[in-house]
Symmetry: C2
Subunit: 219 residues, 2 copies
């Protein structure tokens, strides 16, 4: 753990609201679920999942990280957690489908059960979803169905809503749709910038992503 997220340690506590979870079923000793994580950026959500596993809140093992930007900070995080990191640069592929065929190949080679898009800025194709039916999870920085698509935090600020948040959901072919697992509501403050709001939404993402993975895996 050489890389620590400033984000994860900073105090960004404002009142927030997390949707109630289904009560856990009876505890039984289970094999850890094998996760493949896909990320495009700094990887704070990767870090949150890794920490949650270490702290025993999520019975899982991260088999592999796939990242698509050669300079993504998430790569060094993976190294810190001793997780194999595989670069698949989408610019080197002719189509989304061809790219996803490589993604699936890497995930299957690492014997992944569940796929987690943790800030993965690529749209999932049928190739990926058919290989992992109902087993691809995504996190989106809005209270869906509001503000689908890119720059959701900016969309919320522009719309001048007073509450936004984040959503973890099972991925379907339609972008930012599919069954919702967990949501968290975050108030927008009078003086919020995209950066300050993004930071507070991320704090909630780090809480609900591991919760949602545990919920999804339990069925």
């Amino acid at each position: 753990m050489t890389v620590q997220s400033k984000m994860l340690d900073r105090d960004l506590s404002t009142p927030s609201l997390i949707s109630p979870q289904v009560p856990p079923k009876e505890v039984k000793l289970e094999e850890p679920v094998k996760l493949g994580i896909m990320a495009s950026g700094s990887g704070t959500n990767f870090e949150a999942v890794a920490r949650s596993i270490r702290e025993g809140q999520l019975n899982a093992k991260i088999q592999v990280l796939i990242y698509n930007n050669p300079n993504a900070k998430v790569r060094s995080r993976a190294e810190g957690w001793e997780v194999p990191a595989v670069l698949l640069n989408h610019r080197e592929y002719k189509s989304r489908e061809e790219f996803d065929r490589s993604v699936v190949e890497v995930l299957q080679r690492h014997q992944v059960d569940w796929v987690v898009m943790a800030g993965w800025m690529r749209v999932a194709t049928r190739v990926l979803l058919d290989a992992f039916p109902n087993k691809v999870i995504n996190i989106h920085p809005s209270l869906l169905p509001s503000f689908r698509g890119v720059r959701a935090v900016e969309q919320a600020l522009k719309a001048k809503v007073k509450i936004t948040g984040c959503t973890v959901h099972i991925v379907s072919l339609e972008v930012d749709s599919g069954p919702i697992l967990v949501q968290a509501a975050v108030p927008i403050l009078e003086d919020d910038t995209p950066e300050t709001l993004h930071d507070r939404v991320q704090v909630q993402e780090h809480i609900i992503l591991p919760q949602a993975i545990a919920l999804a895996v339990r069925g």
Copy 2:
């Protein structure tokens, strides 16, 4: 106060989140703002505003209640609070505009400054909005921009979101749009029915509607 709302007294407390308010400006003795309230149903939001005024949280006076259904329970609430109640039955008008002309006539006759749609199931026309520019307030049972239109609570349940809520906003010509004043987030529980969820959303409506009126009036 012969009529008391069961709703307002029942314990429906679940965790919820209300968007932060602009801090109140320095207190000065002001004339109470003159409100006209329009309601179509049971009138629990009317009741919440009336109580808020009585308890000194909102410096206002309800000049008149307009209701559009002859059997609306809100009528007897108005009597309990000694507020004049005027029935305008929309079925007796040829167009929305003609109906709103009568609405405006009643509001102006009662010297209303601000108009509050508190469960008013009619779409506002230009006739009303031109007579009270940026001074018509509406409450809607969702976290806008999600779930505009009728049966918003049912829409949220059907979409299987985990968090919904309510929104108070300034009315514009587009339905359930216009600048947002206050929002409250409400978790959806595993066993919620439209009725139980509606009840919990209403609890939050009763809190944020008076807050939003105070906020709007302050400018």
